[in-house]
Symmetry: C2
Subunit: 214 residues, 2 copies
């Protein structure tokens, strides 16, 4: 703090505070984390944290929004939109798993802390999740159009359900990898999901759905 602190631009200081807050919330949990700890971790005074980010609630919301935006951006940037459908899915999954592996604290804040604390934070995460599902839905729908599956046309509701299933599977694998019980790389997780999902989707798009009667 003091003279040196004042020379750092506000935008930079805020990012430092958010870095410290994400790390602290992830380690200690929303309730246990104190503004004192966060200020200390950021190397600033507590009044400066309040001046810039107003309250613990606002600070936590800012953390969720930043981490959610970063995760969404990582997935969008990773998808090779000009590639074939399986390549698009693979590149998006790789982006998802590599981002979550590189930002475990962000994942913890989004998927454990924000949900744990409940409303209104859980709503922020639900909104981010809905955006990711919608993005994946678009990828699957485009793949279905490319595959030109006219007979047995993949109904829109089926595509939406597949997107939900894929996102749920990805979250489960990411949570497992970050829970420390399995040392699997982002690449391994993405490959697992491609094996799991893509071959299934590929059959579906070829008009070969699985049926209970066969």
């Amino acid at each position: 703090m003091g003279a040196q602190g004042k020379r750092v631009p506000r935008a930079v200081r805020e990012q430092q505070m958010l870095d410290a807050a994400v790390a602290t919330f992830a380690r200690r949990g929303y309730r246990a984390a104190s503004m004192d700890e966060i200020a200390e971790a950021a190397g600033v005074s507590k009044p400066l944290v309040y001046l810039y980010l107003h309250s613990k609630d606002d600070l936590f919301t800012a953390c969720i929004r930043r981490e959610a935006a970063a995760l969404k951006a990582a997935v969008r940037a990773a998808v090779e939109l000009d590639g074939p459908a399986d390549r698009q899915l693979w590149s998006g999954l790789l982006g998802f798993f590599e981002h979550t592996a590189a930002h475990p604290d962000g994942w913890t804040v989004l998927y454990s802390q924000a949900r744990t604390v409940g409303e209104p934070f859980a709503d922020e995460v639900a909104a981010m999740r809905a955006e990711i599902v919608e993005f994946v839905r678009g990828l699957i729908a485009a793949a279905a159009r490319d595959a030109d599956c006219d007979d047995g046309d993949l109904a829109e509701r089926e595509v939406a359900a597949l997107a939900h299933a894929l996102v749920g599977a990805a979250e489960s694998l990411a949570g497992r990898a970050l829970g420390g019980t399995a040392a699997s790389s982002g690449r391994e997780n993405a490959a697992t999901l491609m094996n799991f999902a893509w071959s299934g989707l590929a059959n579906l798009m070829d008009g070969r759905p699985w049926t209970p009667s066969r």
Copy 2:
């Protein structure tokens, strides 16, 4: 209450209290739900709830344990263990989705409330989830042995990852169905997951994994 209440056996009374508690926790949330409301919904006096179930924490724990046990039992009972691998998976998924659709309050307590309130309740749900993943892992491992996939042998760690992916996908679809945004039946959800997962697993067990280079 009163004379009539006393004639009801304790075990029956406790189940009535748990029924009322699950419904109340699901609708109001753990924190907002009061022991007064729960007693009223169960048609008993508040002291009787405390006498039988001790505290709000203990009552909530009893709800989680009962709903978790019911969900696990429903899945185990549904699996047609003497059928072929895809039939086993299909029957288990059907059991999962039909049980969660029939017990939306139980699902809400397990997957929203218990996680929202945090430790130690979240640990109970994590333990239930680990048991379900382990059960699914066993099914996939048995299917892999049946398929006799010696070359390209499905490594144990891959089977575990697939089980996590499948459970995550199932949870995501169940949450979507219960969130009210999609009116999909248990049968539709199970079929979606079979299309998504089984065809993928089947290829995998035939030694035809998806590879990024193809």
